[in-house]
């Protein structure tokens, strides 16, 4: 685009360039999906005085322009999301100015770039979900009454399948329980009351090793789980 500007200030067309570049922007998927863990790392650095000082120096340096590292790191994420908007806007102005050639090109460019942005969002969501699942284990607290079955809770290698809120019959009443299903293990947790703004934690109520589990359907729509090793 820059060279085009040098040739003729009254640029007549940019759509073609955008169409050409769009596919190569898929590299943003990698950056965006890595971004959450990058920020976690940087946040950790801020807790260390040696790193904190170093980062403050970079911020104060002329290259830093008074902006923190975090401010820089998010720029690519922001930029890639901006393209569809900039292009659509340009498309509208081109339409209004009667530049139908560029307008049509820009229409195509918008489609192409939106494809990339969708991929980027997907990659980000996947990374976030992965992180959520990984940290799920850290939210579970051991119960006051220990079950000999689960000891200790080591979920690092477990293959997560699904998790969500279900209801359980406890003493004739329906109670809310957070259930996490792994490939070989199922955990039933009691949601603990939230403390201020902290993430919700859970207390482990019981866990079943799937190979030892029997499943049945009782009357109504409840499923019952029987742990064979109990009997």
């Amino acid at each position: 685009m820059n060279t085009r500007k040098d040739q003729n200030v009254f640029i007549s067309e940019v759509g073609d360039l955008l169409i050409e570049c769009a596919p190569s922007f898929q590299v943003y998927c990698t950056y965006a999906s890595n971004y959450p863990s990058a920020m976690k790392l940087v946040y950790g650095y801020q807790q260390r005085s040696d790193m904190k000082d170093a980062m403050a120096k970079w911020q104060a340096a002329p290259e830093g322009r008074g902006l923190s590292l975090e401010s820089f790191l998010i720029k690519p994420v922001q930029r890639i999301c901006k393209y569809p908007l900039l292009i659509r806007e340009l498309e509208r102005f081109s339409e209004k100015a009667g530049n139908t050639k560029d307008r049509d090109l820009l229409k195509l460019a918008a489609v192409e770039i939106e494809k990339v942005v969708t991929l980027v969002n997907e990659a980000t969501r996947e990374a976030e979900e992965k992180e959520r699942i990984r940290s799920l284990g850290t939210l579970i607290e051991s119960p006051t009454v220990t079950y000999s079955l689960i000891q200790p809770l080591d979920l690092e290698d477990k293959v997560h399948l699904k998790d969500g809120m279900l209801q359980r019959m406890v003493g004739g009443k329906l109670k809310e329980r957070y259930v996490i299903l792994y490939a070989d293990l199922i955990l039933v947790c009691i949601p603990l009351p939230r403390v201020g703004n902290a993430k919700g934690k859970y207390e482990l109520e019981c866990g079943y090793s799937l190979p030892e589990l029997g499943l049945g359907v009782s009357s109504g729509s409840c499923m019952s789980m029987t742990n064979y090793s109990d009997s």
């Binding site: 590299v27 950056y31 290259e63 820089f72």
Partner: protein, 310 residues
Amino acid sequence: MSSADLHISATPRAKHEKLLGIDPAINALAPRTSFTGSVDDLFEAMDLPPVNTSEMKQNLCADLGLTEETLFSDIIPFVKNLSSKAASLDNASHSLHVQASKIMPKLVIYRLTKQKTILALTQENVLANEELVLTLYGNLISITNDSKRLGSYVHMLDELRVQLNKNTGFEDKVENNRLVKMGSGLRLDAYGNNSSPMLNRNSREPDRTSSEVELKASQQAPPPTPGPSGMKLFAKLPKQIADSALEKPELMRLSAVYELIETELDYVKDLQTMINFHKVQMATVVSELETNQIFSNIEQLLVANQVLVP
């Protein structure tokens, strides 16, 4: 502090000190509720004219670096609470609500602090009670685990902080739509404890608490808004074009073209800075593995974008 203790005593200093602590009023603003709403509800909750175009919604998300779902699932319930409680809160918070409703169509919302207080800014104008802003910023103790939001908040806080420095008389130069920070400015510690922002403000007149200070946003020039209230041309349009006798639509079009080019050039420069300065510096203090974990494939991004602006 009980939640009934909502009224803050008269003197500005006492007010600052109270707000510097854990203000139950502010805390009361942030219960988590499940909410299914749309961005239209968000704007309704803030007494703003409805956001008509998906472009505005996308702008909002783009600037925050969030997906639309994340934006709505957290910010909207909070804003709804803010609006409904604003009337019962003290002056400072109330004026936040009041000013939120004066905001221009281009709306960007930032969420600050563990206490999840929302500061509403526009891209063109930051309308906020300056004291409240400083106090909220001073309350920034730690941010949630959500690292993505962390990044965007810190980013905008940086920009805001530099803006505030500008308005409080510390020197900042505006260069190419960016603020180059000079002087020590306000020492606001985003991660550690409050390094009291009030330290530098003792000399100020006491009754600035309710004054509205209009600050100008610093970030890269946003695309010109073709709003109903007239059109804006890109600030750095080449003289040749600006002086020419072109028709308005064509001028607008070229303006948007140059907007794209110039912001792209600025962005590429930022990428280069990150690669040549930040990454290099980082590598001197942490391992190569960690450096790569932070900067990921940034060189590839540079290559891709340089095709657009060689």
